[in-house]
Symmetry: C2
Subunit: 212 residues, 2 copies
DNA sequence: CCTACCGATCGGTAGG
DNA sequence: CCTACCGATCGGTAGG
């Protein structure tokens, strides 16, 4: 891996973990194994490094989103695909979620314009899908499409970002994946508040009931 | 208002807005109208000030929670009371939500032990209520009580904390309260994914449908 | 990519 | 509650 990518990786980790103001160019340089002025040769300022970190994540996101939105086409399957891929995207590297939440808190106005240009179009697509479902009668009539989508995104990102801390309230059902219960319930809440047809409980839920 | 409270108020606002590391004792002193060493007379260190800020919020919370949990006793009413009071508590001063989210990100292990001692007992109470509802048949069988409660708390706090930024994706239905749609949908999602009986749509939802 | 160095600002102290 | 001041560290530059 070339030096520039090492710097980006270290910066991403530390910005997510300790925040932008809580991170110094010194600690990033230390992690990479170079001197501070060498870092400033690759990125002209701390702020330029921050922008580069977020640009890289945005690129990842813009590449993943269209693929999954066009992958599935049938009713409930599409919804599962979108939510599952979102969860997968963030759980694969929880620092992504933490980074977003921090940026939303630190620079709300800047993130707001970025959301309107990059996220809004995708939200609208899912909204249209929900409205069609309402006309077809498969989706609850009193769902507020825009607000619903925003809440689900909010729920997924916040859930992953805070899981390391909050997740300990929900002990693992068994060894292995610690956050399966957490994520399963998230998906269940999102679906149960959207689709009229209550499908048969998922295997995980059935197993849980059996063990009580 | 005495000086100590002024310092606490200014610190709360700035910690929530710019984070702990993004706030300096100088800017807090400036807001209060005193010199930095005078601030350090009231609070021995920056960290002591942080602890005091969080202690004050925790006191508020510990005072509000038992009152509302014992206020309502009947089925769906109790749930509404708890969620509504939670939303009210945080929207009354959104900085409270931002402060919590920041602390969860900045000091996950410390917050974790605090949650286990101060929040866990209340979560257990709500969980028992959910389990009774499941036996009685009023609550969905495949709800995972602990995970559900954690997700709802997560949703409320994150929703309020990020509303200033994310909320702009959901334009106001009309003048006045900008976030009514946002909050209404939050409560709807929480309830629709819990209670089997789908009550008549709320007035707001009916009005929204009529306007389409 | 390094050494050497800079002004500014940080949290905190001395002393009144 | 103030003035005066401190060592440490910050982001960043000069120059090679």
């Amino acid at each position: 891996m070339d030096v520039r990518d090492q710097i980006l990786a270290a910066a991403t980790r530390q910005f997510a973990q300790n925040g932008f103001d809580g991170t110094t160019l010194q600690t990033i340089s230390d992690e990479v194994g170079i001197r501070k002025p060498s870092l400033l040769y690759h990125f002209p300022s701390k702020d330029a490094l921050r922008v580069a970190v977020h640009q890289k994540m945005l690129d990842h996101w813009n590449e993943a989103l269209p693929r999954l939105l066009h992958a599935a086409t049938s009713g409930e399957g599409q919804f599962d695909a979108v939510v599952s891929e979102m969860v997968a995207f963030f759980t694969r590297d929880p620092d992504r979620a933490r980074l977003i939440v921090r940026e939303v808190l630190d620079r709300p106005t800047e993130v707001s314009v970025l959301i309107k240009s990059h996220v809004k179009p995708w939200v609208d697509i899912v909204c249209n899908y929900i409205k069609k479902g309402q006309e077809r009668g498969t989706i609850y009539d009193d769902v507020d499409p825009e607000a619903y989508v925003v809440q689900v995104i909010n729920l997924v990102v916040a859930s992953v970002a805070t899981h390391a801390c909050i997740g300990e309230l929900v002990p693992a059902a068994q060894s292995g994946k610690v956050h399966r219960r957490h994520i399963d319930e998230l998906v269940r809440v999102a679906k149960a508040s959207l689709f009229k047809s209550v499908a048969a409980p998922a295997p995980a839920a059935r197993a849980r009931r059996a063990s009580r």
